[in-house]
């Protein structure tokens, strides 16, 4: 009997540890269910849509379309509707027909004889391709006149290249009779395209060359979204712009500086800071009905393929321009979350694939369904811009004591470089000081008053110590607001403000307007944990180790052996062509903890090479750019054991690790 009780009490703890990857707190409000898929179907989801009768239509990267009946039950039924198409990355149902976007063709499918199998594959429109695998095509999104909007990836030739085929890097419109016309340019990897209820089109972009971080941009005719290569087509007769590649500044200054010179450069509405809010922004879905809670009605859910998670975005129009904030929402999806669709019952279906790109969720593909269980989490529902700061709307009343303390909040702002290089670290970081805090009478809103908000910068709002009036911490304590426009309006009246303003938190101090140095081995400072020159008292190293990388976010060695106290010269070669990595040696069994702690460094992390300040960190390299190397010198621990070495770049620590075994 006693043993049985002991087992019972231990089991939840084990289960908790096993589900450490997905925060258990999220699961308290949002249930994620996995749909079974028949063995033999490679359901690598490329497109997903819900039909009027509640069926799911799923297109795959193998060119198939599967109808999933009863996806809301434990026994969904799969029937193949279509086959043999070329990587269908978009699916839409419109006026009785299914529309699929293949690599080179927009196809309308019909089942004339009603046997559940498509018998007509009509070519609505097709376009040139060069044969480069990266020229993916997405859509279609319909407007009220039955026009269809598609977006086109650039080719990949070591960098993004639009010139191989016409209109790559553009959003195009296809009229109902199949005439294609260009609308907006500057796209790189536009995997998500959405039209909201106001009729505005938004697309999602992935970090890469010209793109410092993932982001979502509102596109209108004539806009240029940033990736210069597509401007090779701007001289074509139908092009709605005359901007040329040579017009685009390539200085590494933030994008807003370039927008001063390039009038049609459209700044993103919402930036999704890289590694913190995903690494490959994908699909967007508007929650018109408040399916995930009435407090989120009108918000948008955004998927991330690389981090296998769902995020939330809010938008407002300031001075006629869309901008807003992004928040974490639900992690732990089984594979790369590429597509989203509302089920007929208000649940949210996610279609997934990770073939070719690693994702946090380790399955090769999958189909899952997210439901809200009706409980209200304590969350920042919204962040709105104010003339002098921000206003946070909470889902439940806040506890005034915690909400009124300056130290309960961390506010940082930063930007990204705009240049042809791949990605960007967070630059020009600034820690903000609060001038005042105003809590609304119903305690659902808190207005943060600041005088140092920076227009065009991304503001990290982290009310980390704010509690609800019932004492709970926030389910997610961070949001990132893109402040392209500052609203006009009345400044806050702080005369009645009772707060004492305390010192700003320790860390970086105000107004570091110097552009941060790129993480670069040559300029790192030596510390006891990080020495790049051989200590003078060594005659020579006892052992020289060389560790490289292989594709799929892995080191090329699973383990290395050294003797206790050995003088080690370790060279880390980041052979990856497009990812930054580091190598951090930690105490045995602490790789997960240090990996998660690196994530928690937030925006500051990139300045610290994502190496947390912890005594569990023994030795480390700095962040290495692709195809660079760094050598560090250290004495191996004296105590025998298996010490993890791990990459602590956010998201990498799960797979990218090995063991430094100290053996006498």
């Amino acid at each position: 009997m006693k043993k049985y009780l002991l087992f019972c009490t231990l089991l939840p703890g084990f289960l908790h540890l096993l589900s450490a990857q997905s925060s258990p707190a999220e699961a308290d409000f949002y249930t994620l269910r996995t749909l079974p898929i028949p063995d033999g179907i490679s359901l690598e989801v490329g497109g997903l849509t819900t039909l009027p009768d509640g069926k799911l239509a799923v297109s795959t990267r193998r060119g198939e379309i599967w109808m999933v009946e009863n996806p809301y039950t434990l026994t969904p039924y799969y029937k193949r509707f279509a086959q043999g198409m070329h990587e269908v990355l978009g699916l839409s149902w419109h006026k009785g027909a299914l529309y699929a976007v293949q690599r080179g063709e927009l196809t309308r499918l019909k089942d004339g004889d009603g046997d559940g199998v498509a018998d007509a594959y009509e070519n609505v429109a097709n376009w040139d391709l060069a044969g480069n695998y990266h020229e993916y095509s997405y859509g279609p999104v319909f407007d009220e006149e039955d026009n269809m909007y598609l977006t086109f990836n650039v080719a990949w030739v070591g960098f993004g290249e639009a010139k191989l085929s016409k209109w790559r890097g553009w959003m195009v419109k296809v009229s109902p009779n199949g005439i294609l016309s260009p609308i907006a340019s500057g796209l790189r990897s536009p995997a998500g395209l959405m039209r909201n209820t106001a009729g505005a089109l938004f697309y999602s972009e992935n970090q890469g060359d010209w793109v410092g971080s993932g982001r979502i941009t509102h596109l209108e005719r004539g806009d240029f979204a940033g990736h210069a290569s597509s401007l090779v087509w701007s001289g074509e007769p139908q092009s709605p712009m005359t901007t040329r590649i040579a017009d685009i500044p390539d200085t590494g200054e933030p994008m807003y500086k370039a927008a001063e010179k390039v009038k049609n450069l459209k700044l993103p509405a919402v930036w999704f800071p890289h590694a913190l809010m995903g690494i490959s922004t994908a699909d967007m879905l508007e929650d018109i009905h408040g399916n995930m809670g009435p407090f989120f009605r009108g918000h948008y859910f955004v998927s991330d393929q690389g981090h296998s998670k769902l995020m939330r975005m809010t938008l407002e129009k300031i001075n006629g321009q869309y901008q807003g904030a992004c928040f974490p929402f639900r992690e732990g999806w089984q594979s790369g979350l590429l597509r989203l669709s509302w089920g007929a019952d208000g649940s949210l279906f996610g279609g997934m694939t990770s073939r070719g790109w690693s994702s946090t969720g380790k399955d090769l593909f999958g189909l899952q369904r997210l439901s809200w269980n009706g409980q209200t989490p304590f969350e920042m529902a919204n962040i709105r811009a104010m003339p002098d700061g921000f206003e946070i709307q909470f889902t439940r009343p806040v506890d005034p004591a915690s909400a009124s303390k300056v130290n309960s909040y961390e506010i940082n702002s930063f930007n990204y470089q705009y240049h042809h290089h791949y990605g960007s670290p967070a630059i020009e970081p600034l820690v903000h000081k609060l001038k005042g805090i105003l809590i609304s009478p119903d305690r659902m809103k808190v207005r943060l008053v600041m005088s140092d908000c920076r227009r065009f910068y991304i503001h990290e709002i982290r009310p980390k110590s704010v509690r609800s009036e019932s004492g709970e911490a926030l389910l997610h304590d961070v949001g990132y607001y893109t402040l392209n426009q500052v609203p006009q309006g009345e400044m806050a009246d702080l005369s009645a403000n009772q707060l004492t303003l305390e010192q700003s938190p320790s860390g970086m101090h105000s107004h570091q307007s110097v552009i941060a140095v790129q993480p670069n081995n040559k300029k790192s400072k030596a510390t006891p944990k990080h020495r790049t020159t051989m200590p003078e008292d060594w005659v020579a190293p006892d052992v020289e180790l060389v560790i490289g990388t292989i594709p799929g976010m892995k080191y090329d060695l699973d383990e290395v052996l050294v003797k206790p106290g050995a003088r080690v010269k370790l060279t880390f070669n980041n052979l990856d062509d497009d990812m930054t990595h580091n190598l951090v040696i930690v105490q045995p069994g602490t790789a997960d903890e240090i990996g998660m702690a690196a994530f928690g460094l937030g925006v500051k992390g990139s300045q610290m090479s994502y190496v947390p300040l912890s005594n569990k960190v023994l030795f480390h390299t700095t962040l290495l750019q692709p195809e660079t190397s760094q050598t560090i010198y250290f004495k191996a621990p004296v105590k025998p054991g298996s010490y993890d070495f791990v990459c602590t770049y956010p998201g990498h620590h799960v797979a990218m690790r090995g063991l430094l075994r100290v053996v006498p």
């Binding site: 080179g104 594959y121 060069a130 080719a155 191989l164 594709p551 195809e627």
Partner: protein, 627 residues
């Protein structure tokens, strides 16, 4: 417009002095094109210029001349003197040849007079056995009177009777110790039939049934069976292995430079990476290897320089071939021989090939190779350099270490298999080194299949056997996105078919618009049919298996009669031969085409080859591709 991938195989090198090379050239391959190289050929054999047949005809016809060895054992069978046996004997062997048989005939190629590769009319057979075309014939136990052993070919790659089949055999003779005891079996290292691998590393335990000898020896003659029916052989080329060829004189020196790459930017065009002036740079690493080897190349920012020498035994014309991944240049005796630097950098595929010929004197020659691997495929680095004597024939010999070769990096193979219905799969398809990006592959349970360019209403390939290899589409990201036929393949024209009466492309039809495809046909036999609009005209175009599985029939249905148009049905570099049954043998008996006689078929000469065009009457036009 889609830029086309440039051809990287350049076959024009320095203009060779052909006559002189023939005199100076010590051939390392032998041509068996004359009856005089055989022992007492019987009267059943004769030398002829050309041979042809028809799919159901049991005889072959010929024209007088030389170049083909034809056996026509009229009114007699099973006489051993009708076998053709070479005077020479061979051990290890590399053999290529072409063979043609008429309907129901039978022959065989006996290596060392002992080990038979079957030649037979297996046209259309889905599951071949050892006694079908390409099979290793079984052995025979005299005591029990039973056969045993034998090895079926992987595929039935046999064409229809009356067509030439190309065969390649790499054979390893049995090995014996000093006392004459066999220490290892003979082996078929590789056998290909019409380009398909049908045997690989197949051991041969002993002489097959009806061999000329019942024992095994280090050498033996080649025997071509002539006692079972008509057969023709031509282009018999063999290389007896073990002859010394070009050899690297070790060591090969390598030097690795960092930051040694430069890329030019001319407007929007960026060049292939080139080395900077290496005399100004210090290598970060140097060393020596026994053979050419780039496996130590680490990343695209490194430039890899190899220098060394090789020894040429006999003067003559040699061909060099580089298979590599990345960018490479090869200089011999200070002269540039192979280079991709004139090409645009984009669109390069997975495994590049460059080939060039050079006249070489006997003795030592120097080489200098520069290599850098492609910066975004940094884990793939390969440079394999081969040489062979002669421009077009013979065996390639490796000058590189095996680990410098391209590794087969696909860990999973993907295949599409027709069930009891047709299947189709869109993909990119390589056609003449250009990717057709809007292609579709259609496969049938009858094991005949085709690929088709939907933007051009053009047939690309037809094939028999298994359907489609989609590994390059679905392995990892699928960086090629091409699908390949998994069977015995015949290239088609790849051209849009509608022309004017002179056989020239018709202006009115060039605004071709693909409308889509419908899956149609009788119940249980539905297959794609493609619809087009060109100006005011509409038509439907499709292929399906022909009668008796002899190939595919192409159907084109016009919305209204097209009396003023001609249809291109086939192109052939080597022309067409009209046959007695009204069909044509195409491209020197590579395949057949049967067009309706009322459509006024005729052959038109055009730059680049011969065209067979028809003028259909009515609205429905169909013809058969028989192969």
């Amino acid at each position: 417009m889609t830029p086309s991938l440039p051809q990287r195989i350049c076959l024009t090198g320095l203009l060779p002095l052909l006559l002189m090379t023939r005199l100076l050239f010590a051939q390392s391959y032998e041509a068996l094109d004359r009856l005089s190289v055989f022992r007492n050929p019987s009267s059943s054999w004769q030398e002829v210029a050309e041979v042809w047949g028809m799919p159901r005809e049991v005889n072959l016809e010929s024209s007088p001349g030389r170049g083909v060895l034809l056996c026509a054992p009229k009114n007699r069978l099973y006489r051993p003197e009708d076998h053709l046996i070479t005077q020479m004997e061979h051990g290890d062997l590399d053999l290529s040849l072409e063979v043609m048989i008429p309907a129901h005939s039978n022959s065989g190629i006996y290596l060392q007079g002992r080990y038979e590769i079957q030649v037979a009319d297996s046209w259309g057979k889905v599951s071949p056995s050892f006694s079908d075309a390409g099979g290793v014939y079984q052995r025979w136990d005299e005591v029990t009177g039973k056969g045993y052993g034998g090895h079926a070919p992987r595929f039935n790659a046999a064409k229809a009777p009356g067509l030439w089949n190309h065969i390649r055999i790499r054979f390893q003779a049995p090995r014996f110790d000093a006392a004459g005891r066999k220490t290892s079996d003979a082996m078929l290292l590789l056998v290909t039939w019409n380009g398909l691998v049908i045997h690989e590393n197949v051991p041969l335990s002993g002489p097959t049934r009806a061999a000329a000898y019942s024992d095994e020896k280090p050498t033996g003659p080649l025997l071509f069976q002539g006692d079972h029916g008509p057969v023709a052989y031509r282009h018999i080329r063999l290389t007896r292995m073990g002859n010394p060829d070009i050899r690297i004189v070790p060591p090969v020196k390598y030097a690795i430079y960092e930051n040694a790459i430069t890329r030019e930017q001319k407007g929007a065009i960026q060049s292939v990476p080139k080395a900077k002036d290496l005399t100004m740079l210090t290598p970060v690493k140097t060393g020596e290897t026994a053979l050419i080897d780039v496996s130590m190349s680490r990343r695209g920012t490194q430039y890899y320089l190899l220098t060394g020498q090789f020894e040429v035994p006999d003067p003559g014309l040699y061909a060099f071939k580089a298979n590599y991944h990345g960018y490479a240049r090869v200089e011999i005796d200070g002269q540039l021989l192979l280079s991709d630097e004139a090409l645009p950098w984009y669109g390069l595929g997975f495994n590049e090939e460059m080939m060039e010929t050079k006249q070489l004197s006997a003795g030592r020659h120097s080489f200098r190779i520069g290599y850098t691997h492609r910066d975004w495929d940094r884990h793939l680095r390969a440079l394999a350099l081969y040489v062979r004597a002669g421009a077009k024939e013979g065996n390639w010999q490796a000058l590189h270490d095996k680990k410098s070769e391209m590794e087969f990096s696909r860990t999973v193979m993907h295949e599409v298999i027709p069930g009891n219905q047709s299947v189709f799969q869109r993909s990119f398809v390589n056609f003449d080194s250009v990717k057709r990006t809007h292609a579709i592959n259609v496969g049938f349970p009858e094991a005949v299949h085709y690929s088709y360019d939907t933007r051009k209403a053009a047939i690309l390939y037809v094939w028999r056997g298994r359907f489609l290899n989609t590994t390059e589409m679905w392995f990892d990201r699928g960086t090629e996105q091409t699908a390949e036929p998994l069977g015995m393949t015949q290239r088609m024209s790849g051209l849009f078919p509608v022309l004017d009466l002179d056989g020239n492309p018709t202006p009115g039809w060039d605004s071709l618009r693909y409308l889509g495809m419908n899956i149609e046909g009788t119940e249980g036999r539905k297959a794609p049919r493609f619809s087009y609009q060109a100006g005011a005209r509409f038509f439907k175009d499709w292929l399906e298996p022909g009668p008796n599985n002899q190939g595919l029939t192409r159907h084109t249905e016009f919305a209204s009669p097209v009396a003023d148009q001609s249809i291109l049905v086939a192109t052939a570099k080597k022309g067409f031969r009209k046959l007695a049954d009204g069909s044509y043998s195409v491209d020197d008996a590579a395949w057949y085409i049967l067009v309706p006689s009322e459509s006024n078929p005729r052959v038109v000469e055009n730059p680049g080859g011969h065209w067979l065009i028809c003028s259909p009457t009515g609205v429905h036009f169909s013809y058969q591709i028989i192969f």
